[in-house]
């Protein structure tokens, strides 16, 4: 193996890849340098209408009925157990068909408070689904980062099954 030749070819491939990567993402790079993504890559600080909440607040909003829960996990996981009354909007399906995440599809008014959750802190489908929900017209969205794992561990009410099955 000719190391010199391989090194040159490697450098060429890297250069060919990185030049368009940088040129086509100058806007994102500027935002990175400004510190927009220090806290979160998907929801820059100051994004209006989106907040991260903990178990206590999610529980309070559930008790008071002041929020509508949205489950971003796959349907089979939703069917195994979910927050009572939560709508199943799996991220994969919503990504392919954003009509599934509209106020009409969920039968919820756009200014209703939504709480989006997935499995727990290690999943980010709730965060990704939030972007689709915002584009669909929802203005007040909270992300429950502890998700289903924290909800279940706390012994909060659960519902099993799905109408969609």
């Amino acid at each position: 193996m000719d190391l010199k030749k391989t090194g040159k070819e490697l450098a060429a491939i890297v250069l060919i890849a990185f030049v368009p990567a940088v040129l086509l993402n100058l806007g994102l790079i500027r935002r990175q340098l400004r510190g927009d993504f220090d806290e979160s890559l998907l929801l820059p600080a100051g994004t209006p209408g989106v907040a991260f909440i903990g178990l206590a607040e999610a529980g309070d909003l559930f008790q008071s009925g002041a929020a509508f829960f949205v489950d971003s996990r796959p349907l089979d996981e939703y069917a195994e157990g979910h927050v009572p009354g939560a709508a199943s909007v799996p991220l994969k399906e919503a990504s392919e068909n954003t009509a599934l995440a509209t106020p009409e599809a969920l039968d919820v008014v756009p200014n209703r408070t939504l709480i989006v959750y997935c499995n727990g802190e290690d999943c980010r489908t709730s965060v990704l689904l939030t972007r689709i929900l915002r584009e669909a017209g929802f203005s007040d969205i909270k992300i429950f980062l502890g998700g289903w794992a924290e909800w279940r561990a706390a012994g909060f009410p659960a519902e099993v099954g799905s109408d969609k099955e």
């Binding site: 193996m1 391989t6 070819e9 490697l10 060429a12 491939i13 890297v14 060919i16 890849a17 990185f18 368009p20 990567a21 940088v22 993402n25 994102l28 790079i29 990175q32 993504f37 220090d38 806290e39 979160s40 890559l41 998907l42 991220l91 994969k92 990504s95 499995n119 727990g120 290690d122 999943c123 980010r124 489908t125 965060v127 990704l128």
Partner: protein, 145 residues
Amino acid sequence: MIRNRAVLFAFSLIVGGVFVWAAVLKIRDPLAFAQNIANYRIVCNLIAFWIGLLLPWLELAAGVFLIVGLWRRTSALLLSTMLAGFIVLVAVTMVRGIDVDCGCFGSLSGKANLGLIIQDAVLLFMSLTVFLSKADPIRLIGKKS
């Protein structure tokens, strides 16, 4: 060692095709891919951002070069290194007990689990075969080496 030119070309096409497809899905939304990387909890947001921005383009370039046959062995070496890295990353993530989407195919990604390791191992076998083989597979462009 496999020397059949058609088989080597098929391997190049499969590995290159998978990487090109995965790259295109990720290039469409670099921030989502960067978040996938951050979810592994190995690097900070800053490094995840730059990997999310640059890695898909590197996958695309190496994948295209492997398919067309230009700088084939170097491309195969680069993709093999990436695949070995992915396998180690997923294995470490499983050992740490972190349940995370792999991020390999943008929003179409599955979980980082044993199935993914096997899938990557098969691709690594194909890629290494192309890299190590003395035979020259059918190439679409470029001179015979």
